[in-house]
């Protein structure tokens, strides 16, 4: 299958970048850990089920019919995601399996920094694949801009963490900045490396934007269904809906959990039930589906412009 082939080539590209680290006692193995997690570039799972790391390659191929020259860019994005995960674990300090918990912050910070540097190095490897200098610069600009936006989004999210009056507009802004911008970037880079015209590049970037928004909302729904965001009192889209559209005892219970946590705080299962019964999860699911519908419409537009978009529909199933 084409997914397995692309995934194998991507793994080879990432392994080649990590190989020079193998002399530095354990650094290579530690760097591989976040890359081997589900839906990351070195994951052992079937790429057929989890094609996310291949997104830039699939976009590139959809436009130009080729993708091999884009492998270093896809590898760079995987390295950036892996670095972000390691940094995130250091900040949250809530995972017993994280590198920072097992080896300490100093080692984890060094691993994450190494992954960031390798991501930059990976982009320069586009030259080996015959990509022209001006295009490499455009890829660097796209990647750095997207990740600067993501860091700004994270800062905004951290700044808002203690504020109770988070609106849906603010939620959507943060969701775009800290998460959807990176999916948009993957599509943007894929289209750039296909040497598409600007209109088509913008079309695929917009597809990525909407796919990324759907993905972030899906993640926030899971934060409720799995309970992790309830435990952390994290105010995400379902909670914003429920706080705005409920009253009486339901509203009181939600406020106790998310706004004024106290000793008499309701348990996670009770809160989850309230969020389901108020329609908050249903609303968030519709919102996720809305962004998928937008992404589908954009794919139709790309198809009319000559793109071969069938494989991208996998992400909208």
């Amino acid at each position: 299958m084409w997914q397995e082939r692309q995934a194998e080539l991507l793994r080879g590209e990432i392994e080649a970048l990590l190989a020079p680290l193998s002399d530095a006692s354990g650094l290579c193995a530690l760097g591989k850990e976040p890359l081997a997690k589900a839906s990351r570039g070195l994951a052992a799972e079937s790429a057929r089920q989890r094609p996310w790391p291949l997104l830039p390659l699939i976009v590139c191929e959809a436009i130009s019919g080729h993708y091999e020259h884009a492998l270093p860019a896809a590898a760079a994005l995987q390295l950036l995601k892996a670095a972000a995960e390691v940094f995130d674990d250091i900040e949250d300090a809530d995972s017993s399996a994280s590198l920072s918990t097992r080896y300490g912050s100093a080692v984890a910070i060094n691993v994450a920094t190494t992954l960031l540097i390798l991501a930059e190095k990976s982009i320069t490897r586009l030259k080996i694949r015959g990509v022209e200098d001006y295009l490499i610069v455009r890829v660097m600009e796209a990647v750095n801009s997207a990740y600067a936006t993501a860091c700004a989004g994270q800062h905004l999210d951290l700044s808002l963490a203690s504020q109770i009056a988070v609106s849906e507009d603010i939620y959507l802004r943060v969701a775009y900045m800290k998460s959807a911008s990176t999916v948009e970037c993957a599509c943007h880079v894929g289209a750039l490396l296909a040497a598409a015209n600007q209109e088509l590049i913008d079309t695929f970037a917009l597809f990525g934007h909407n796919l990324g928004m759907a993905s972030q909302i899906a993640n926030d729904i899971q934060g409720i269904t799995h309970g992790s965001d309830i435990v952390k009192h994290k105010i995400t889209l379902p909670v914003i809906y429920a706080l705005t559209h409920t009253d009486g005892e339901t509203h009181h219970q939600l406020k106790l959990k998310f706004v004024k946590p106290s000793e008499s705080v309701p348990d996670t299962a009770q809160i989850r039930d309230l969020l389901f019964r108020s329609g908050a999860i249903h609303y968030a699911t519709i919102k996720m589906e809305y962004y998928k519908q937008r992404a589908l419409d954009i794919l139709s537009e790309a198809e009319r412009a000559g793109g071969s978009v069938e494989r991208l529909k996998l992400f909208l199933a």
Binding site: A38, S39, R40, Q49, R50, W52, L55, K81, A82, A84, E85, F87, D88, I90, E91, Y147, A150, C151, G153, Q154, E168, K178, S179, T182, V183, L211, G212, A214, S215, Q216, A218, N219, I221, Q222, T225, Y241, T244, H245, R272, D273, F276, R277, S278, G279, I281, H282, Y283, T285, I286, K287, M288, E289, Y290, K292, Q293, R294, D297, F315, L316, A317
Partner: protein, 76 residues
């Protein structure tokens, strides 16, 4: 997305038994009362077709969400 209109729809369906029954049997008749865009309508109907009313956790909900959620890895 004019979120407010979709919010009103969901609030009505979940807060009013009569509307809920109508929506379950004939969602289009309820949608006609709300000024939704075509994409919003499709989103509502697709969600309804896949999951009905999402009132509790289910394997279907997880199956609908999981493949889409998987990209996410937070920026620190």
């Amino acid at each position: 997305m004019k979120s407010q209109t979709v919010q009103e729809l969901v609030k009505k369906v979940f807060g009013d038994e009569k509307t809920k029954r109508q929506f379950m049997s004939n969602p289009d008749s309820v949608l006609a009362r709300f000024a939704l865009t075509e994409q919003e309508k499709r989103a509502v109907l697709k969600t309804h077709a896949k999951l009905g009313l999402v009132t509790s956790n289910s394997q279907q909900l997880e199956a609908a969400i999981d493949p889409t959620a998987i990209w996410h890895a937070p920026i620190p």
